[in-house]
Symmetry: C2
Subunit: 313 residues, 2 copies
């Protein structure tokens, strides 16, 4: 689930009588967890399934003037797969709803479908249902993916478990996704499962709104601060020639890389063992300051504000 406007999301979070036993993870994480009762064993002995939902809109998350429908179908699926990765869970199945422009016919749906299926096949996550409807009087296009996943041996990794002293790491490189990568990025499902098979993570999410915005979410949900080292941020080659590559890497959003924290010694072990083509970079440390800070290249430490891309601004 994307982050959107956290304050407004709060309205949706005020739920009454949520039996914690059946819903161990609710609103505020990348996915919600449902523990299905096993009638043979009683309430808490059941099987867990996780769910995420994400709506992508033309003109916001993609632009049909430049993106193909195949790219849109792929991106919608990949964004949900990235949520599965963010919890270190295994994708199980997806259902897709579309609100189509009146002009759409089978040719357009076929193109959209091929993008969806490309992602399904790549991540072994079948499309098992859907809903197709058309606007009566508009050429708008909305696509919603709801995806289920299951835990991979270990419990799902949440946003709220970061501990003071943790190392802060990211996969891949950051910035410039809107130059093109946001349409064909590879969700880090495989990498998340590999990392959690090697070491215990204390917190994780995927970077959808930008490093500063999303690190701020981990900090606020974990009630900790963070300091990151400007020199260590892995800046995407895509932004190396733009006016402010460093700002882009901090704030562009839609990187869909993993942002996670883990104990210092686990970080050392992980980096030593990691031989994957997708790099892992340590970018900072979790602190008890209660705020985000950044150590600039000149050594000066300054406060860092969340200023990533917010879909509601």
């Amino acid at each position: 689930m994307s982050n959107g406007e956290d304050i407004i999301t709060g309205w949706f979070a005020r739920q009454r009588n949520l039996p914690a036993c059946d819903f161990p993870i609710g609103i505020g994480d990348d996915m919600a967890e449902i523990r299905l009762a096993d009638s043979r064993k009683g309430c808490c002995a059941g099987v867990s399934v996780l769910i995420t939902t994400d709506m992508l809109l033309d003109g916001v998350h993609f632009d049909l003037k430049t993106a193909t429908l195949e790219q849109v179908g792929y991106k919608a699926m990949a964004a949900s797969l990235s949520d599965c990765a963010a919890m270190a869970t295994i994708p199980v199945a997806a259902v897709v709803s579309v609100g189509l422009p009146i002009s759409f016919g089978q040719a357009q749906l076929k193109e959209l479908h091929s993008g969806i299926i490309a992602a399904c096949d790549k991540f072994n996550c079948p499309l098992i249902g859907g809903d197709i409807t058309k606007w009566a009087d508009a050429s708008k296009f909305a696509i919603n993916v709801a995806m289920l996943s299951r835990p991979a041996g270990n419990p799902p990794v949440r946003r709220n478990g970061a501990k003071v002293g943790d190392a802060i790491c990211v996969t891949g490189s950051l910035g410039g996704a809107l130059l093109g990568k946001h349409l064909n990025f590879v969700p880090r499902v495989k990498e998340a499962l590999k990392i959690t098979s090697l070491v215990k993570l204390n917190s994780m999410m995927d970077i959808s709104d930008g490093l500063t915005s999303d690190l701020n979410r981990i900090c606020s949900q974990s009630r900790v601060g963070a300091i990151i080292d400007a020199n260590s941020i892995p800046i995407s080659p895509d932004v190396k020639t733009t006016p402010d590559p460093f700002f882009a890497a901090l704030n562009d959003g839609e990187d869909f890389e993993l942002l996670f924290t883990l104990a210092e010694d686990n970080c050392g072990r992980l980096l030593k063992q990691w031989n994957d083509s997708v790099p892992i970079t340590r970018i900072g440390t979790v602190t008890d300051t209660g705020k985000m800070q950044i150590k600039m290249p000149d050594g000066k430490i300054t406060d860092l504000k969340p200023s990533g891309y917010d879909h509601l601004k």
Copy 2:
């Protein structure tokens, strides 16, 4: 999941390598079923969960010029709850995505949320996650509900199990939903569970596109025909004063009543025992003609075509 344009839905149904063991019910029913592997018992011994997704659009499924946001939130939830009822399953949890007009603020979200929560509370189906985003340049409004349910002792009731000789029944009365009922209908969750606790059903769905369209779906998926008796159709009081109440009852759509078939003797037992405030009416019989027919009040039998409301027309 709504029915939409069945031919186009076919594009989405062409899935490769769906292991039937893990997905006993796929595209084409009111919900898809996922059997989650139980690691202790192997693939097929797991716990089942069902999922539906439905996108509702302003100007198609509701009109914000006349409907309140509270009504829209309620309707979006109730439509998915009706899918749970259509399979005779128990609602478990829902996630909601919204694509909002740029003008929306917290007041509008609060109103929408209160309608969603009213349905959640009434049917013990908590809202456990969501996604909020805004159109960049449009005043369109789309809402998507993805809902999970679980089997209620018996296997979920599908559309494809109708047998020649079955009695055809409906709950409640039909027609005129667009005059108002489509915004505040009560999904037949309780009734579906009560019916299936009393007798075995062979097929069921909810009436979203109109009796003729939806009966046609049961017939075509079950490879049977049907004959209904015009005199037996329970016509809603809402359409009694409209120009053609009978046509309205057959085709209006959005009744969200249950349409089901069951063995003749089971139908007799059910009607004898049924003492609920929501009536059950037998309207016809499943045949081997391969087509839908209707016996008119004058005794003449004529072919019946699916001409209910289709969101894609």
